[in-house]
């Protein structure tokens, strides 16, 4: 056998989205030897698709805003399932992280007096999202990418990590990966590894997520012995495109509603007024007049109901469509054309204008958009220490969408980009502290050999399952049974089907060579997709209540007792997708009284 390529680093970051890049910058600033490994080219990670902005209580538009209000909004949006310490750190540190981006070259939109402009978004009491038109994610990733490149951080692009490898004592020692362009394997030794791999949305048929969102980081961490929490909590963004079918699921930013867009049913009615839950009644407008006054002056009226948290809006759209009041292609109408000037729309929402014009032939300055819920984000993820981003596996850290806890059962729009920055940095610090204090680790070579053999197995079968067929069937199945509204019988069906898929994945067959072979690449993604989908379905079955991103038709109310626990997934046998997953309730940590008081007092 030819010599295998191998590299050694202090800290390795898996994933080159916002969290991964921010973590890498932090570790490199400490003078450590740092590498980033990513499945795609640098700068293409899913962060580029974030549109609306990054939430941070800078108070540039409303002086009344501060971290305490942001903390309260985040906890309420998450239906109190959040890790309070993460929500606290996030609310306190986000402004500094945004100003830091500015000092690295980011060009945010400005207020009249030259400060960073902030826009309104669902669930945020004040205009709080720093933004660049509707392409904030691109600005964020480009700024971090250019900063990282200027610091001589090594980037291994189009390199897919298949497994984490530990040493004989059970600490992370490195990982196994292959180059997509050649199909050749490469191993990396690392003292610390930061998972920053993003989400899981590609297991659903209609999703705003790119092909990369296959839950690799969740699965690799679980297989290595880490725990996952809240995997049932999946956010369906209320407004995805619904037509043409080939673009169904592509995101329509919440900024459309923040800038005055309203939702209407086929009768032309602003139906969101009918769906205001008690928890939000006191702060939501009762009439269209009152709501419309709010856009110009937040003290002249209460918030429009279109800007309730995402879970509320997504469920309401779902109900309207079910009641037969949907749009021709099974969504509802999002109308900004009748409410704002064409010039305003093109300036504030340039990429939405572009996207609808070029993909659907719809001019959003003249006609309403057809929109409906689309699988968007997983609140659940790897269980981490809030301050250091450390998992329960020594040497393994996680940040960004792959980490759980920050957003509870429902994420507020805009909190994700600031989450990436705050906890990307903290993961970089945590991993650096750990790497500086530990010696060089040695990977168990037998495991390395085994993992490479596993990944190549699909080539050894002439006859077997086509990975594209399994992916397609998995997406259909998850969409049908583990979608926005769930019920016991469908979840049980899902768990049975996932068991069948698990057997079929053991019999995958791919044709062709190893160099840039998407069929094989998909075959190496499927085990992760199955593992995370199983955690989601099992968690959804166990959480017999409706809360945020978990809606049970058979348990429509929130259960106060279940609001005190995370459902925690762990692997009880084996070290791969073939192992058995167990899910058990684990009590949330207790919030200190001074933070509890914030939830009451700031009204």
């Amino acid at each position: 056998m030819s010599e295998r390529e191998h590299h050694d680093y202090d800290v390795i970051i898996v994933g080159a989205g916002g969290a991964g890049l921010r973590a890498a910058i932090e570790a490199r600033q400490r003078g450590l030897k740092v590498a980033i490994i990513c499945k795609s080219l640098l700068g293409k990670a899913h962060t580029v698709m974030a549109e609306g902005g990054a939430a941070a209580a800078m108070g540039n538009v409303y002086e009344e805003d501060n971290w305490k209000v942001h903390f309260r909004d985040t906890m309420r949006g998450g239906k109190m399932l959040n890790n309070w310490r993460m929500a606290e750190l996030h609310a306190k540190e986000s402004p500094d992280r945004i100003y830091e981006l500015e000092s690295w070259g980011a060009l945010f939109d400005r207020t009249k007096d030259g400060k960073i402009l902030q826009r309104d978004f669902g669930g945020h009491r004040y205009a709080r999202l720093a933004h660049v038109g509707d392409r904030t994610g691109l600005e964020l990733i480009r700024t971090l990418q250019q900063k990282a490149v200027s610091m001589d951080i090594d980037v291994y692009m189009e390199c897919k990590v298949t497994r984490l490898v530990k040493d004989v004592d059970g600490a992370i020692a490195g990982l196994v990966a292959y180059w997509r362009p050649t199909g050749e394997f490469v191993t990396f030794g690392a003292k610390a590894v930061v998972m920053a791999t993003g989400g899981v949305g590609k297991s659903w048929k209609f999703t705003s997520n790119s092909w990369e969102s296959t839950g690799d980081g969740h699965a690799l961490a679980l297989w290595a012995g880490a725990e996952l929490i809240d995997m049932e909590c999946i956010q369906f963004h209320p407004t995805g495109m619904v037509w043409p079918l080939s673009v169904r699921g592509i995101l329509v930013t919440e900024g459309v509603r923040g800038d005055g867009g309203v939702l209407r049913n086929s009768e032309g009615k602003r139906f969101m007024f009918e769906y205001v839950a008690d928890m939000f009644r006191a702060e939501t407008a009762e009439s269209e007049d009152e709501a419309d006054r709010w856009y110009d002056d937040h003290t002249a009226g209460r918030r429009p109901p279109e800007l309730l948290p995402r879970d509320e809006v997504a469920r309401s759209i779902n109900s309207e469509v079910k009641a037969g009041r949907g749009s021709p292609h099974g969504g509802v109408f999002l109308d900004i054309a009748s409410r704002r000037s064409a010039e305003f729309i093109r300036r504030r929402l340039p990429s939405m204008y572009h996207q609808f014009m070029e993909l659907a032939g719809v001019d959003i300055t003249r006609e309403p958009m057809e929109v409906g819920p689309t699988c968007h984000y997983i609140m659940g993820g790897v269980k981490v220490d809030p301050d250091t981003a450390a998992t329960s596996v020594p040497g393994l850290f996680a940040a960004g969408e792959v980490a759980g806890g920050m957003h509870g059962s429902n994420r507020l729009g805009g909190n994700s980009l600031s989450d990436l920055l705050v906890f990307g940095r903290r993961a970089g610090m945590g991993a650096s502290d750990y790497a500086e204090a530990t010696g060089t680790k040695v990977m168990e070579e037998a495991k390395v050999t085994e993992y490479i053999k596993d990944a190549l197995e699909p080539f050894s079968r002439d006859e077997g399952e086509n990975p594209y067929d399994i992916q397609h069937e998995l997406q259909e199945m998850m969409q049908a049974n583990v979608g926005i509204i769930r019920t016991q019988s469908e979840l049980e069906t899902a768990i049975d089907k996932l068991g069948e898929f698990k057997e079929r994945v053991k019999n995958l067959s791919v044709k062709g060579g190893r160099a840039y072979n998407p069929g094989w690449n998909l075959a190496t993604d499927l085990p992760s997709m199955l593992t995370v989908s199983t955690c989601t379905a099992m968690g959804a079955l166990l959480r017999k209540e409706s809360r945020g991103g978990q809606t049970r038709e058979d348990f429509p109310a929130a259960d106060p007792e279940l609001g005190k626990v995370n459902f925690t997934s762990s692997l009880v046998s084996g070290d791969s997708f073939a192992g058995e997953i167990n899910i058990a309730p684990q009590p949330l940590s207790v919030m200190p009284d001074e933070l509890k008081a914030l939830l009451e007092e700031v009204k």
Binding site: G114, P244, S246, Q355, E358, L359, V510, G519
Partner: protein, 260 residues
């Protein structure tokens, strides 16, 4: 509905040929959808690069009927129904496999850009006016699809130029930094001497293919060329800079990366 026929280039660095695939036409599809259906049903190993499928990441650049385009933004209804559609990889870069080319040239050029360097943060933070950030914002819309690099004849037809020619994508980066209200590095001499700005003879091919409709030539390259010339020859501009106290670091300093 009728069938659709795609002629897709298959091969690698050692050579290749067109393969023809015929499949049923589906309403509302883009070229990338059809490529995906070919992968799923006829050629599981057909290589193509893609990520967001929404025109935001710039991964799926290819040449469709000879013209560079994002496959995810190219609607099938915009092509004649009775003719096959030809899909080939970006031609200016080495082939990896099928529709995937090796774009590492662009990442090497990105590494050569002398980094952004702001002044110390003043009390109360930086202040910038919207009108001043908008110039840079236009260039920061770039999704790095590299189609401008693909059509630039300085790169496309002259392999030997590559080491000393940044190309339109990076000229807009230099222009953005040059116009950035906070940046203190002067890269004008560097972009002329090392990055080949003078080789661009403003044929505007780059502007024509830009999926973000960035006016690369008019708003970035021409102003950049003017500023480079000003730096050397224009005493009025020199005096203006003195009066406005735009103190930039010298080219020699600028070419050096700042410390961590």
């Amino acid at each position: 509905m009728s069938d659709v026929t795609m002629k897709v280039w298959r091969g690698d660095a050692s050579g290749g040929q067109f393969e023809e695939y015929t499949l049923p036409r589906v309403e509302g599809e883009v070229v990338l959808d059809v490529i995906h259906r070919i992968q799923a049903t006829q050629a599981g190993d057909l290589a193509c690069r893609w990520n967001c499928k929404a025109g935001k990441c710039g991964s799926c650049s290819a040449e469709i009927n000879g013209k560079p385009a994002l496959m995810c933004m190219s609607r099938m209804v915009d092509f004649p129904e009775d003719e096959p559609i030809t899909v080939t990889p970006l031609r200016a870069f080495p082939i990896i496999r099928d529709l995937v080319s090796d774009v590492s040239f662009n990442y090497e050029m990105a590494r050569k850009v002398p980094a952004f360097l702001p002044p110390p943060v003043p009390e109360g933070g930086f202040r910038m006016q919207q009108i001043d950030v908008e110039r840079g914002q236009e260039f920061r819309k770039c999704i790095e699809c590299f189609m401008c690099q693909d059509v630039c004849h300085v790169i496309r037809d002259h392999e030997e130029n590559k080491p000393k020619y940044a190309g339109p994508r990076f000229f807009i980066r230099y222009a953005e930094l040059e116009m950035h209200p906070l940046d203190t590095n002067d890269r004008r001499e560097y972009v002329r001497d090392e990055m080949g700005l003078g080789m661009c003879n403003i044929t505007k091919c780059c502007t024509e293919v830009c999926p973000e409709h960035i006016k690369i030539t008019d708003n970035a390259i021409i102003p950049l060329k003017e500023r480079v010339v000003d730096a050397d020859f224009d005493p009025v501009a020199w005096l203006g800079r003195k009066i406005l106290r735009r103190t930039k670091r010298t080219p020699a300093e600028a070419a050096v990366q700042p410390p961590l």
